[in-house]
Structure formats: structure tokens, C-alpha cells
């Protein structure tokens, strides 16, 4: 039943009544539709194929090929010289026996396009390149190429003139020629008694009559017309482009971190091994992280909605402590050296090494003092990360990025506190630490959009060196790692 709810207008009531009207069509309708769709699919023809123009173009190309092939073939027959092949039907008839060929009258046969002249009878073929015979009285004037073909085996010589008038009154076929045209003359001298028969000459060359009527020029060029149906979608894409995220961003941040150089002694340094204390705590010291920080700059580019790549330069101040119990003391000189500085000194034979004095003098009369002592071991690095990021909710106020990549750590300075409390300062020039070592880095970043351009980031990151920090790893090894939380601001443009 219809619901008349407050609609009294005649049209509105009918409209309302049929607005949602529905009646299930019988299955035969869909079957019919499907059959028609299938039929159409089978004969799906590209639109351009239906265009008559493409057929004109195809016909033109075919005509060109035909003409080209004709020229090529006829060119082969004529030794490369242009010529017109003789048409097939020889209409000549001999009018009877002739005792002398010179008395025989050649007959000219006329057709709308060609004139042929043939002589019958056994013939001697003489080819002459230029001259006209003295007997020639009637020159053949040709506006186009002329060829008189004769063969040894054929009893007739056909002369074809295209658009030309040829006249022979002589018994012998001699031709005088138009100077401007390349001409071959084959004159046939008829000798002896001619045959009474009038042979029909079947020419084996290609028919030229067809070629003459084919178009040589004025071929129209047809361009394929394309029908584009997807214009509405172009319109849809436009607002998407406007919403497209900013392509580039730059950021500045600071990262409190926990840095651990993870220095390991692989074997006891000389002074300690001579003290036979390699089994003691001195050689099994460990590194301990201390408060560190990094100052970071970032530059990045968004490659797609979710993916981005970023790089930057960071200065890392990595503080740590080394706890290796005990040190050696030279009883005579009061020189002392803890295990790390002694090992460090052992790495470099240079006398100018900052720890050179720690290397010598402990072989004789040195004492091992077994006291647990922490010494500070601080590093400074310049870091160059390259990271890929995948961002979730990229266009929302809050978004999350997962980061991963590699980081080049350029070694700047190491400051190691000695047993006596002095600071041993090692720089990249001392050839102890690698000037650059690689670290893998990963992190999770929380992005908060402050405005269309500005954003704030909180990034938790983890870095771990994949190669040792020491240039030579004979007795020392170091794979620094770091945990940090970075606070940064970002400007997108």
C-alpha cells in the first residue's frame, strides 16, 4: 500500500508511488543481455579499425607496394635501365609468306595504349646501341621510353611505344631516337624466308599496362583518430593533486641518547700479558653507557603517499665509561697505565702517539694493581644517515613512521681518561680509529602536524655499528651502539 504521508499533490503522489517501484525482470532478460555482450566481445574491433580512413590508408600503402614491386621487377629485367615491358598480346599477323625479310612489311597494331610492331619470320637479332640505319626513313618519335625487344628465339619483335607514335616504312626495323631519352634499340633483321605463321607472342615480362594506370603521387596521409573516454577521471584527479603531501622537508632536532662504544679487548696488551694477569678482571673490562646527545639536521623527500627518504648531518657526543679493573704501575718511573690505554698505545707504534708513553716501560719491574676503576671514554662522531621511511596515516594530524637505513659515522675525537687521571685525546689523524664506520639504524617516529608547513617529531632510534670502530682490530674491538629519543621540528615545503 502506498503511504500518502502528507503528500497531496497529484504528481507528487504518483512520483512517490513509483519512486521505489521495482519488479524483478525474468531471467531471460539477463540471458539475452549476456548473450549480446558475449557476441560483442567476440567481435570486438578497435575503433580505428572501423574507420574507413584506415582502409584508404591501407589501400594506398598496398598501391605503393605494388608500384614499387613493379618497378623493382621491371628494373631487374632491363638491367637496371628504365624500360617499359612489352604487353602480352601480340596482334600481329603475318600476311603471308615473304621471300625476303626486307620486303616484308611490318604491321602495326594499335591499341588504346600501345602500338606494337612486330615482324614475323625467323629473325636475326642485331642490337645496335645508337645509330639509325641508313635505310631508316621514318623515325619513331617517342616522348617516353622506348624499347624494342627482340629475342633470338622469338620470331617476332615487338615494339612498344607508350604515348608515342611509331612508324616504320622500312623493311628493316631501324629507329632513330630521341636524344634525351635512354633508349635501347634492338633491331631485328629478318633474314631468309619468313614463316607464314603468325605467332602470338607471350611476353614473359610483367604487364606494364596495369602499372601505367596506378597513381604515383597524391597519396593522402591519414592520421589515426583516437577516442578518449576517460575525461571525467582527469577531473577527479585534480583535487587529489592539490591534497598531495609536501614534497620536501627539513628538520632540526636534538637527541638525548645512551651511547655505548662496546669496546672489547680481544687479547691482553703486552704489559698486562707479561704480568700474567690476562685472566684477571683487567682484561675483561666492559663499557658502560653514559648520558650522550646528538644534534641533528634532516632533509627528506616524500616519494609517494607513504614512502619517504631522508638524510642529514648529526653531531654525536657519545659519553661512556670503561671499567677494567686494575692498572700496571712502573715501580721506577711511577708511570701507570690501565688496560685500555695500554692496549690503545699498543695499536700505534708511532712515537708521537698520544698514548706512546703508556706503551713502554712496563715490561720490567712493573706492578699490577688490581683495583676496579672506571675511566671515562668519550667519543665524538659526525653522522650521515640515509633512511627510508614508511608513514602510516600520512595526511592526518598524527602520523607514524617506521624508519630504517644506514649511517656513516665519521670519527672525530676520542677522549680516554688515563689511570693517572690524564686525558688521552685521539683524533682521526692518529690512525687508531677508522675515520668512517658504518652503522645500521632503525627507528619509530611520531609526527604531529602543527600547521600545513610545520610539524613536530618524536623519534625513537637505535643505531648499531656493523664494522669495528678501530682501524686495526688486533687486540681491540668496538661496535658502538646507541639508543636515543630525538625531538625535532620539521618544515615542509
Amino acid at each position: 500500500m502506498m503511504d500518502p504521508s502528507n503528500i497531496n499533490n497529484f504528481e507528487d503522489q504518483w512520483k512517490k508511488a513509483f519512486q521505489e517501484a521495482s519488479e524483478t525482470p525474468p531471467p531471460s532478460v539477463w540471458e539475452g543481455i549476456e548473450a549480446r555482450l558475449n557476441g560483442e566481445q567476440e567481435k570486438v574491433i578497435p575503433l580505428w579499425w572501423q574507420s574507413p580512413k584506415i582502409w584508404y590508408a591501407a589501400a594506398s600503402i598496398a598501391a605503393l607496394l605494388l608500384v614499387g614491386a613493379g618497378f623493382w621487377l621491371s628494373g631487374n629485367n632491363g638491367g637496371g635501365k628504365p624500360q617499359v615491358a612489352v604487353s602480352t598480346e601480340s596482334i600481329l599477323k603475318s600476311e603471308g609468306k615473304r621471300s625476303n625479310a626486307q620486303e616484308s612489311l611490318p604491321l602495326a597494331a594499335e591499341s588504346p595504349t600501345t602500338e606494337k610492331l612486330a615482324t614475323t619470320g625467323e629473325s636475326n637479332v642485331v642490337r645496335e646501341s645508337k645509330t639509325a640505319s641508313s635505310k631508316s626513313k621514318a623515325p619513331a618519335v617517342a616522348e617516353s621510353k622506348v624499347e624494342i625487344a627482340a629475342t633470338d628465339h622469338v620470331n617476332a619483335a615487338d615494339v612498344k611505344h607508350e604515348n608515342a607514335f611509331a612508324e616504320t616504312k622500312n623493311t628493316a626495323q631501324d629507329q632513330s631516337l630521341d636524344n634525351t631519352q635512354p633508349v635501347e634499340i634492338a633491331a631485328a633483321k629478318v633474314a631468309g624466308n619468313g614463316d607464314a605463321a603468325a605467332p602470338t607472342v607471350e611476353n614473359q615480362a610483367i604487364s606494364a599496362q596495369l602499372l601505367a594506370s596506378l597513381p604515383y603521387s597524391d597519396l593522402d596521409v591519414y592520421v589515426q583518430k583516437r577516442h578518449v573516454f576517460f575525461r571525467p577521471e582527469i577531473r577527479i584527479e585534480e583535487p587529489v593533486k592539490e591534497k598531495k603531501p609536501k614534497e620536501y622537508y627539513a628538520g632540526l632536532g636534538v637527541m638525548p641518547a645512551s651511547f655505548n662504544p662496546d669496546v672489547q679487548l680481544k687479547e691482553a696488551p703486552m704489559a698486562f700479558s707479561t704480568q700474567s694477569v690476562s685472566q684477571r678482571r683487567a682484561t675483561t673490562g666492559s663499557s658502560e653507557a653514559r648520558a650522550s646527545y646528538a644534534v641533528q639536521t634532516q632533509g627528506g623527500v616524500r616519494l609517494s603517499k607513504h614512502w619517504s627518504v631522508e638524510t642529514g648531518i648529526s653531531y654525536l657526543r657519545g659519553n661512556s665509561a670503561y671499567e677494567g679493573g686494575g692498572y700496571v704501575l712502573n715501580a721506577y718511573s711511577n708511570l701507570s697505565s690501565n688496560v685500555l690505554e695500554n692496549a690503545l698505545a699498543g695499536l700505534n707504534s708511532s712515537a708521537n702517539s698520544p698514548a706512546a708513553d703508556k706503551a713502554a716501560g712496563f715490561n720490567n719491574g712493573a706492578l699490577y694493581i688490581d683495583v676496579a676503576k672506571k675511566v671515562s671514554n668519550n667519543y665524538q662522531y659526525l653522522q650521515l644517515p640515509v633512511q627510508a621511511g614508511f608513514t602510516l596515516n600520512p595526511d592526518k594530524k598524527f602520523s607514524y613512521s617506521v624508519l630504517g637505513g644506514m649511517m656513516a659515522n665519521f670519527f672525530l675525537v676520542n677522549e680516554l681518561e688515563s689511570a693517572s687521571g690524564d686525558i688521552i685525546r685521539t683524533t682521526a689523524n692518529d690512525d687508531i680509529y677508522r675515520s668512517m664506520n658504518w652503522a645500521a639504524t632503525t627507528g619509530l617516529r611520531l609526527n604531529y602536524k602543527l600547521s600545513s608547513n610545520w610539524g613536530a617529531n618524536l623519534t625513537g632510534s637505535y643505531q648499531r655499528a656493523v664494522s669495528s670502530g678501530f682501524r686495526s682490530n688486533q687486540s681491540l674491538d668496538s661496535h658502538p651502539y646507541l639508543y636515543g629519543v630525538s625531538w625535532s621540528v620539521r618544515y615542509s615545503f
Binding site: 504528481e11 504518483w14 513509483f18 517501484a21 525482470p25 525474468p26 543481455i33 549480446r36
Partner: protein, 189 residues
């Protein structure tokens, strides 16, 4: 809605048979009801529906997402129906008719007591021209000048044909109503 219109259109644009069938399943009923309104018998209605769906599938690329899909489908069906009627020459002899309004006020009018099927039959019993113009004006909501343009007739013809249709329908409604009231009474008691 249990289907995603955009996905459906996308599928149809890709000539995906499943999407085409789904489109038919979703809208076939409503569109068939339109076909029934414009034709005189079911066979014709089925033909129109079939032709309309072929047109829909062939021209789905021209559908723009800025209007509802159903409007577009309905307009294709109505146009197909009109073509069909032209071929049947139903729309040939449409002339001005003198019609006197029966004086019934709009406010007194109600279709509340009629089954859809009854109303459908009433429309289909109208003379062809009246039927078409009534459908176009009252139900599809075209204006007389638009109808005149669509059918190649004058605006006056459209108006007079519509007026006649309306009178005829009114008569049918009045007639049916008497029977309906009686039957309802029987059922109630």
C-alpha cells in the same frame, strides 16, 4: 547500501562481467519497473530493459561520478524507452486535445489505497502519447518544454496530452476506489 557504487562502476568500465551482473542485480528491478510504465506489454518492457542495459554497459565510460548512478541509469532507460516508442510509432500522432479539467482539487487526492500494480496498470492503459507524457512529467519530473523538445512536439501538445492523461487516470482512480472501499470493508468485517 551493501555495495560500493564506485567499485561497481569501475568494474563495469573494465567490462568485468561480475560487476556488470551485479549492476544488473542491484538496479534491474527498478529499471524494469520504468520499462513497464512506458510500454504496453511485458515483452516490450523486457526488450527495452535489455537494450537499455546494453547501452549502459557500452556507455558506462561517459558516466560522470558527480551525479548519482541511479539518475544516470534511469535517464538511459527512459531514453531507450522513448526510442522504442518512436520505433513503434506510438509517438507519431500526438495532437492537441481539448481537455476539461475534472475539477478535482489536488488536496483531496490520495493514492494511499491503491496497490502499485493497480497504478501501473492504469498508466499502461492510457493512450500511448498520454502514457509517455504522463510518465515524463508526473513521475520523471521533466518540464513540458523539455518534454516537447524530447519528443519533437509542441509544448501545448505536451500540456494537453498530460491533462488528458490526468483526467483519464482520475476517472480510473474514482472507479477503482469504489470497488476498493467495498472490498476493504469486507475484509475488515
Amino acid at each position: 547500501m551493501t555495495f560500493n557504487e564506485q567499485e561497481l562502476v569501475k568494474g563495469c568500465k573494465q567490462r568485468n562481467r561480475i560487476a556488470q551482473k551485479q549492476l544488473y542485480d542491484v538496479f534491474g528491478g527498478k529499471l524494469f519497473a520504468i520499462c513497464l510504465r512506458y510500454t504496453k506489454n511485458r515483452a516490450d518492457a523486457e526488450d527495452v530493459l535489455q537494450d537499455a542495459f546494453i547501452k549502459i554497459y557500452e556507455n558506462i565510460d561517459s558516466f560522470r561520478a558527480d551525479s548519482p548512478l541511479e539518475y544516470w541509469l534511469r535517464s538511459v532507460v527512459v531514453n531507450t524507452a522513448l526510442n522504442h516508442l518512436r520505433q513503434q510509432k506510438y509517438l507519431k500522432e500526438l495532437d492537441d486535445i481539448d481537455v476539461h479539467h475534472n475539477g478535482l482539487s489536488d488536496r483531496e487526492f490520495t493514492l494511499g489505497n491503491f496497490q502499485l500494480q493497480q497504478l501501473m496498470e492504469m498508466i499502461r492503459e492510457l493512450p500511448p502519447g498520454c502514457q509517455t507524457i504522463f510518465n515524463l512529467y508526473a513521475i520523471e519530473g521533466y518540464q513540458h518544454n523539455e518534454i516537447a523538445q524530447m519528443l519533437g512536439i509542441s509544448e501545448g501538445t505536451s500540456k494537453s496530452q498530460y491533462s488528458r492523461a490526468r483526467t483519464l487516470l482520475q476517472q480510473k482512480l474514482n472507479k477503482e476506489k469504489r470497488f476498493d472501499d467495498g472490498s476493504v470493508q469486507h475484509k475488515q468485517f
